[in-house]
């Protein structure tokens, strides 16, 4: 691939070593964390209006979780050594915690999903026959007790797990931001704001993804989209996107106002290499427009026709999904568009279509959790008419 360089780059800095895969990784973990937080809003904070999406949120979190690992594995030079990260973790490394945090979170989400869906599992186990019956009974761990006492125990566990899950989700994703924020070698990454920015944008992407999944799911299943649920999600989305955007802008403002040494590089980066993906996509198309759309929904939602409200939130959600993706791109790729010599830039980076870490691989990885979710929906339906 032809690369255009200007100024002086350290000769090893000519390569982009963190590719599109490292853009996908925080994007997908963000969706996991964000979706989980929505489910916790229902389970812990008793936002009953979110009940129709509570199970979907959990299922989404669960299905995106394994997918979060795939881009990393595909990126590694030696995926067969990947286990080393839990075999010989080097705890001075921000990355070493990943294996443990990820596993712990995985266990937590699996447990919570199990408790939430246990009554359904048991019902399906008793209703079905043959292989199917075996499968569900295995899922139920052979215990068919759905008495009120047993369900009460389940609810208690769900509450505890959901509560534990909030700090865990924050940790999991704040930690992804920390991976970047803690590198003093890179002025575009090295800021304590990084974990916070990652966290808020994660919640934004998670809520946005749920809105999209919920509306599509309802259409497929012929269920009416719940007005309360959508309005509530739109409000939360609006709140989190404002915070997320504020932080993102604040970071740039501070850098620019301080006129620190780094600004020479970053200012150039924002106005040249990232002018489209940062200013146009992350700030305007993905920021300003959904802000206006959601503001309409939030302020005039009461008098709006359901169809209009749904369309507006759906469009805003899709745009915000794009916004968060572009934010990940701008951080990960942007941080590698300049050399650590602080004297040279790479003009563009276009990932190849068929490369090992190229666009096709990224698309495949992103499709995977949706397939998982479809499968999940087949095994354990998340959207039900009876929910409201």
């Amino acid at each position: 691939m032809f690369t255009e360089l200007t100024g002086y780059l350290f000769p090893n800095d000519v390569h982009i070593s963190w590719s599109l895969m490292i853009v996908m990784y925080p994007y997908i973990t963000g969706l996991v964390a964000g979706a989980f937080i929505v489910s916790s809003l229902y389970h812990v904070f008793n936002r009953d209006e979110l009940k129709p999406v509570g199970r979907l949120a959990l299922a989404t979190s669960l299905c995106f979780l394994p997918a979060a690992m795939l881009p990393l594995l595909n990126h590694l030079g030696h995926p067969e050594n990947a286990l080393n990260i839990i075999v010989t973790p080097n705890f001075t490394s921000a990355m070493a915690g990943f294996g443990f945090l990820f596993s712990a979170y995985f266990i937590l989400v699996v447990l919570e999903v199990w408790f939430v869906f246990r009554a359904d599992i048991v019902r399906l186990a008793t209703e079905s026959r043959g292989l199917k019956q075996r499968f569900y009974s295995l899922l139920a761990l052979g215990v068919y007790d759905v008495s009120e006492a047993a369900l009460a125990i389940d609810r208690r566990f769900i509450r505890v797990l959901a509560a534990l899950g909030i700090p865990m989700a924050c940790l999991l994703h704040g930690y992804v931001g920390f991976l970047f924020g803690a590198l003093k070698a890179n002025p575009w990454w090295s800021t304590p704001l990084m974990p916070v920015i990652f966290l808020f944008s994660a919640v934004v992407s998670g809520i946005a993804m749920l809105i999209v999944l919920y509306q599509i799911g309802c259409r497929f299943k012929g269920i009416e989209v719940d007005r309360e649920a959508i309005s509530s999600m739109a409000r939360w989305l609006w709140l989190f996107m404002i915070m997320s955007l504020t932080l993102e802008i604040l970071e740039i403002m501070t850098l620019s106002y301080e006129r620190a040494e780094e600004w020479e590089v970053i200012g150039h980066l924002l106005t040249h290499q990232l002018s489209i993906s940062f200013i146009s996509v992350q700030m305007v198309i993905g920021g300003l427009i959904p802000f206006i759309l959601l503001m309409l929904v939030v302020t005039m939602g009461g008098v709006m026709h359901d169809k209009i409200r749904n369309t507006l939130t759906l469009s805003a959600s899709l745009l915000l999904l794009l916004q968060v993706l572009s934010m990940r791109w701008n951080v990960v790729i942007g941080g590698q568009m300049f050399s650590k010599s602080m004297r040279g830039f790479r003009e563009t980076y276009v990932p190849g279509l068929y490369e090992k870490e190229g666009v096709l691989a990224a698309v495949a990885i992103f499709v995977f959790p949706f397939l998982l979710l479809t499968f999940f929906e087949k095994v354990l339906p998340t959207l039900k008419k009876s929910d409201r």
């Binding site: 963190w18 050594n81 990355m95």
Partner: protein
């Protein structure tokens, strides 16, 4: 000719390895087999004959010194490094930068192919008032940000002060590449692992200098042992004005520069 003009004992011919010591290495090979290793290292079978079993890494601490005023930018070091260490093309364990400043102090910096094949006489633009070469390599920082971030403990600092990568254990995540502020690390396209300058650990611990130090025709590069009071490098560090790259990052580089300009980072 004035062959001692650089004022550096180590940069003459013998590499500190006279014929006698060379023979001594040969005779100690058999001793290796018999006595095992001094620091408890069991040598892999079929190891190259020159492994010095008497080397005790607790009694050495290596540091590097570059005299930017002596460097002629011939690129011999970069070529020797590539040949010695099988560095794939397009990656550099060491490279040479050329700085040229005009009267306004604006710097024009270049390093065509890492300076490996020397430098051409291309115009810098404007009137060059100050110009020099700066060889670069891994700084083997004492507070290194790269081994700090290695998630699996595949990169580490030896007791004699050298930062190494275990390519059998490395997972190739590239985090260390991002963490190095000097651009000294890269992902080796052949092994798919992180790679960097080792200060020719296989030479250094067996009685030789690094390939780049040995090959330099002008003694611009020297490597020495802080634990050895007779090593000339200690006198230079003690008495001359020296500098390190990007000291503000507090990585404590063990690669010192004399005659470094503020434009270099």
């Amino acid at each position: 000719m004035q062959d001692k003009k650089n004022g550096c004992d180590g940069c003459g011919d013998g590499l500190g390895l006279t014929r006698r010591t060379f023979l001594k290495h040969l005779t100690t090979v058999s001793a290796v087999v018999a006595s095992g290793a001094v620091i408890g290292l069991i040598l892999p079978e079929g190891a190259a004959g020159a492994v010095d079993s008497t080397y005790d890494w607790t009694r050495h601490r290596w540091v590097y010194l570059i005299d930017t005023r002596a460097c002629i930018g011939c690129g011999s070091c970069a070529r020797a490094c590539r040949a010695e260490n099988d560095v794939p093309e397009g990656n550099y364990r060491t490279w040479i930068e050329r700085y040229r400043m005009n009267a306004e102090g604006e710097a024009h910096v270049d390093s065509p192919q890492g300076g490996e094949f020397g430098f051409e006489r291309i115009k810098a633009g404007g009137d060059v008032r100050k110009a020099f070469f700066v060889p670069k390599l891994c700084n083997h920082c004492a507070a290194t940000p790269c081994t700090q971030v290695c998630p699996v403990g595949a990169s580490y600092t030896t007791r004699d002060g050298v930062v190494l990568v275990d390519k059998e254990h490395c997972i190739g995540c590239g985090y260390c590449v991002q963490a190095c502020p000097y651009g000294s690390r890269f992902i080796n396209e052949e092994t798919h692992t992180a790679d960097k300058c080792t200060w020719c650990y296989h030479r250094l611990t067996n009685g030789r200098k690094t390939a780049c130090v040995d090959i330099c025709p002008v003694g611009a590069r020297i490597i020495g042992d802080r634990e050895n009071p007779d090593d000339p490098i200690n006198e230079i560090i003690a008495t001359q004005r020296i500098h390190v790259l990007q000291p503000e990052l507090l990585t404590k580089p063990q690669c010192y520069y004399s005659g470094l300009d503020m434009e270099v980072r």
